[in-house]
Symmetry: C2
Subunit: 170 residues, 2 copies
């Protein structure tokens, strides 16, 4: 029999936080309470979240509004440890999906749906990635980020907009 989805999710978040904690320790740093709280909100979100949305969600969950400055600092911290990613196309943030496996966290692609704001993070195909790296090197540059961002529209939104288009053209 299946567990309740809600509880499963909470358990998964707990596990992720555990992994994150270990990742920080391995790198001579630590996941403080605040950092952990921020990360847990992002882990629970099903789409990209802005810093100020995060403040509101923090207030909902922990009954206290952290100052923007602190939130941005913590976001910077989490980004620098690759525990979260910034979606530049939207100035929003998502939790890393590879959080259980940070040691061999290779390059990933962030497929950002500009309509529903959902982000799909999947490992980047090795061949493609090497081809990219090669091209970038040839152009006299060195890649800094392990996350390549793509502005997309997801199939779900695509279908919705198509049916919408149909309905208005009818």
């Amino acid at each position: 029999m299946m567990k309740k989805p809600g509880l499963t999710k909470i358990n998964n978040i707990e596990k992720s936080l555990q992994s994150a904690e270990e990742h920080c320790q391995r790198n001579g740093s630590k996941l403080t309470k605040k950092r952990r709280q921020i990360l847990s909100i992002l882990l629970g979100a099903d789409r990209a979240i802005s810093a100020y949305e995060l403040i509101e969600l923090f207030n909902d969950q922990f009954e206290h509004k952290p100052p923007a400055m602190s939130v941005y600092r913590i976001l910077d911290y989490l980004v620098s440890f690759d525990l979260i990613h910034k979606v530049n196309a939207a100035n929003k943030f998502i939790a890393c999906t590879q959080i259980h496996n940070m040691e061999n966290h290779g390059a990933t692609q962030l497929l950002f749906c500009q309509q529903c704001q959902q982000v799909q993070e999947t490992p980047l195909n090795t061949t493609v990635y090497e081809g990219l790296l090669d091209e970038i090197k040839k152009s006299g540059n060195q890649l800094c980020s392990q996350q390549i961002e793509f502005t997309c529209i997801c199939n779900a939104c695509l279908e919705n907009s198509q049916s919408y288009t149909k309905s208005i053209s009818a």
Copy 2:
């Protein structure tokens, strides 16, 4: 004998504006005076420029400060016609380098140096691009933008920072 570089540059900008104008016409639109002025500033810049920097540069060149709203509208317009690109990692804008050849303007890579803000726009290797498209499609998404942005550090900056590192570690 070489022409003065400055004049050559101005001539190139004029040609680019001409091409842009034709591109707009072909697409049933037009490059108004304001749009042309904004585009010419971006064509003359050697790095990515923010909307508000653009206002200042506009004032320098045309002795009048356009309102932010107008600038953003015009930037949106130029982006939608692919005449300029937005560098999401920096919230800045650059003129398209393929402006003379918009009809077969394929996918390009924007190599953004996070240190000096310069952006190198080069055509994306076809094989790599198709590989990418394939992966994106497999993940159930459709790519929206023809510009793939990479946060990099250019060789020039890399050397500078290395010599700097050497000097402080000495």
